[in-house]
């Protein structure tokens, strides 16, 4: 659409215009970073040659932080300052945290409606801050690998992540100083890793069985367009549950009656996990746990143990397929993601269910990062060859609370995003001048069973008789799956005040102050950094508008309009050379304001061209 980036073909230019981009798989247990190098997506290894970064962050009294293997290895000695699985806490409030994992060795507190805080020796930390450390570590690794700045990144999130969790993940990236192109659903990333060169119309199911969660997504891939048709899953079912069944089996089998100490439990779970992994290749495995009897589990026994879990997983698959009006046999391909999909009987069950041999030739632990890197490379504008596009859906319905605590759905689950929907409401009392709007996410009928996302008040409604006021509530979900809610009163054409208070989540001010507080940036550094960012923004704005003018400035603008825009460009160009970030901001704003009508004209023109069957590329040369 508007202000398209012009690609410059030719060898020498390519080096200059190539933007380094990365894909980050921010996982619950492990995280990875990948990039596209010499036309192939690959994971980036650390100095020790390992590409997996355990998602473990350790805080120290001197404010230093260790991440990954090092933090993992010293976790036992410093349990209350070593944070595991921050992805499980991100975007959640304290009561939800208690539900998902019982207890943690660290102290989590929540002050009223604010974000839960983990108390560490280095001070209070939010889950977003913990995840930011993991992101920073991967980001630094990538920077070292390229010895240059990274233009932008894609961060993957589970498809079932709700608005608060997505927002919190974006906040983490902001804290880590990463320019995020977009968030990408993990299963979608996996499909991209497999399917870039697909030419024929294909239906693909992505079967993602991670340590703690299961996701299934149905995609249609056609000429580079990835259309997510439906997504479903179970956020509390994964490979860990298989370990648990082996652990339980061991206890029953060996009639272990002693009370398990936390240490015993850890040993047992590790032994179970080891046995599970061994059973992938072998017919039987020994569960290495202190009991009198020998605990040898055969693959057959293991398969029997996990049959109910597999049935549960396949039921989720069936529901999701039904949601999109498909049958299992409609799928042309099935992509496997997540370490647990290595289990032979899982592969067999998936094969039987869909009637097609699942794809697993890309390492199921790396496939998400690889797909994210592939897509990041496209968004950065490096992959010219394919007009690739990703059309994703909302994983959960979004609604509003109405009388009696009932949810009225405004955006339904599995709607293609971005989406904008408006619903009319009215007052129920004479002379009512304010209205409280409660935004919720989930599939259930009652507000109490759904996730509360935000509450805000619409004030200054003109006092009218009950039912006369027309209040339009608009839900907008962007391509990242992030929600924006607006409300205004229509009957008198007055736009009333809207104040959105996130139920919990970081405000922009909090994020800014966190960045400021981070010890890495002294005040002057902050100023320098923000000036630098402004200059980059100015350059980007200029580059975009200039290439747009080159393309169609003559067709779409009158002489006078063009003159005015040229003046604004000149103004920004000269201001940019100064070191005054405020002035640069103003000049950018003026240029943007003065080109608003032009941007819209371009959008309309490009739409017209698209349906007339002509390609915008024709207008580039």
């Amino acid at each position: 659409m508007a202000l398209l980036q012009i690609s410059e073909p030719g060898g020498s230019d390519e080096k200059v215009s190539h933007k380094v981009s990365i894909g980050i798989d921010l996982g619950t247990t492990n995280s990875l970073v990948a990039t596209v190098k010499e036309n192939s997506a690959q994971t980036i290894k650390d100095e020790d040659g390992s590409d997996i970064l355990p998602s473990v962050v350790q805080f120290h009294a001197d404010n230093s932080v260790t991440v990954g293997h090092e933090a993992l290895n010293t976790a036992c000695e410093n349990a209350e300052n070593t944070i595991f699985s921050s992805k499980r806490f991100i975007g959640r409030n304290i009561s939800e945290l208690e539900q998902i994992s019982g207890s943690f060795p660290y102290i989590i507190t929540q002050d009223g409606e604010s974000v839960p805080i983990i108390n560490t020796v280095a001070g209070p930390k939010t889950a977003s801050e913990v995840s930011a450390e993991i992101l920073k570590s991967l980001y630094d690794r990538a920077k070292k690998c390229f010895a240059c700045d990274i233009h932008g990144a894609i961060i993957t999130v589970p498809a079932y992540f709700d608005d608060a969790q997505r927002q919190a993940t974006k906040d983490s990236a902001k804290l880590a100083g990463i320019n995020v192109y977009r968030l990408l659903n993990e299963p979608t990333a996996a499909a991209i890793a497999y399917g870039l060169n697909e030419l024929e119309d294909k239906l693909v199911a992505v079967f993602d069985l991670g340590g703690g969660t299961f996701d299934i997504s149905i995609l249609r891939i056609h000429e580079g367009v990835f259309e997510v048709l439906a997504t479903g899953g179970d956020a509390s079912l994964g490979g860990d549950d298989f370990d648990r069944s082996i652990a339980e089996w061991t206890l029953t089998k060996s009639s272990f009656n002693n009370k398990l100490t936390p240490n015993d439990y850890r040993t047992l779970m590790l032994a179970a996990k080891g046995a599970k992994e061994k059973l992938t290749m072998e017919k039987s495995a020994f569960v290495d746990f202190i009991t009198k009897k020998k605990n040898n589990i055969t693959r057959k026994e293991f398969e029997k143990l996990i049959t109910p879990l597999i049935e549960k997983i396949l039921l989720v698959c069936k529901k999701t397929l039904l949601d999109a009006d498909f049958k299992p046999i409609d799928m042309d391909d099935v992509v496997l993601v997540g370490g647990a999909t290595r289990i032979p009987c899982i592969q067999k069950s998936v094969h039987e269910f869909f009637g097609v041999k699942p794809l697993s030739n890309i390492d199921p632990d790396r496939v998400v990062a690889i797909g994210a890197a592939t897509h990041a490379n496209v968004l950065a504008g490096n992959a010219h060859a394919t007009e690739m596009l990703l059309l994703d859906v909302t994983p959960l319905s979004l609604g509003v609370e109405t009388m009696g605590g009932i949810v009225e759905k405004i955006v339904h689950r599995n709607t293609t995003i971005p989406v904008e929907k408006t619903q009319q409401f009215t007052t129920y009392k004479d002379g009512q001048t304010a209205m409280s709007i409660h935004v919720v996410q989930g599939e259930r009928e009652m507000v109490s069973d759904c996730r509360s996302l935000a509450k805000f008040e619409l004030r200054d409604i003109p006092p009218l008789t009950a039912g006369a006021a027309r209040i339009a509530v608009t839900y907008q979900v962007d391509a990242d799956g992030l929600l924006n809610v607006k409300a205004y009163e229509e009957s008198k054409g007055v736009e009333a005040n809207v104040e959105v208070k996130p139920s919990f989540g970081l405000t922009d001010a909090q994020i800014t102050s966190m960045i400021k507080d981070s010890n890495k940036y002294a005040d002057t550094d902050m100023l320098k950094r923000s000036l630098q960012e402004k200059k980059v923004e100015a350059s980007r704005t200029l580059e975009a508008i200039k290439s747009a003018l080159l393309q169609d400035g003559d067709q779409l603008l009158s002489g006078k309009e063009r003159e005015n825009i040229d003046q604004c460009i000149a103004a920004l160009e000269s201001t940019k050379e100064n070191d005054n970030s405020k002035k640069i901001t103003t000049a950018i704003e003026i240029l943007e304001k003065e080109t608003e009508f032009y941007v819209e004209r371009r959008m309309n023109a490009s739409i017209k061209k698209a349906v007339e069957g002509r390609n915008i590329d024709e207008f580039k040369s």
Partner: protein, 169 residues
Amino acid sequence: MNFSQNYFQLLGINESFDIDLQDLASNYKKLQIQTHPDKNINASPHEKRLSIQTSAYINQAYNVLRDCTKRAQYLLEIKNIEINDEQDTINDSEFLAHQLELHEELEYSMSNDKESCEDFLTKIKKYEKELFEDFSRQYLELDYQNAKESVLKMKFYRRLKMQSKEREM
């Protein structure tokens, strides 16, 4: 942004009930390739907002046009014939009696095996198809009153389909 175009104009499709769904899908994708926020990651905030709105509007248009019932209702809306789900009723007593029968049949097929469930859905789809043909004819003949009644009837079948799906889960 020119949001005054109707969905057919926006997607470059002739304003009619019988449309080529492949053309629709292909034009939809062409438009999204131009407007989607992913194609505007380096854009200014204003452009990004515009891109989200435009892309959302195209999604909305596509969702209406690709669904027969929604498309029929929208065609009438263009002719200023609004359908109000709460106020508009069907007077065709034969149709209503048939609906009651179908509901009973649904209950029955649910308590039975999967096959009868699928048979039921196939049957519903057959009735729907007849309605679509009715609507297409009525619309062409400018018989909007009966066309409206056809849309109301389509909605009955839509609900039946939803119910049978829900229960299958």
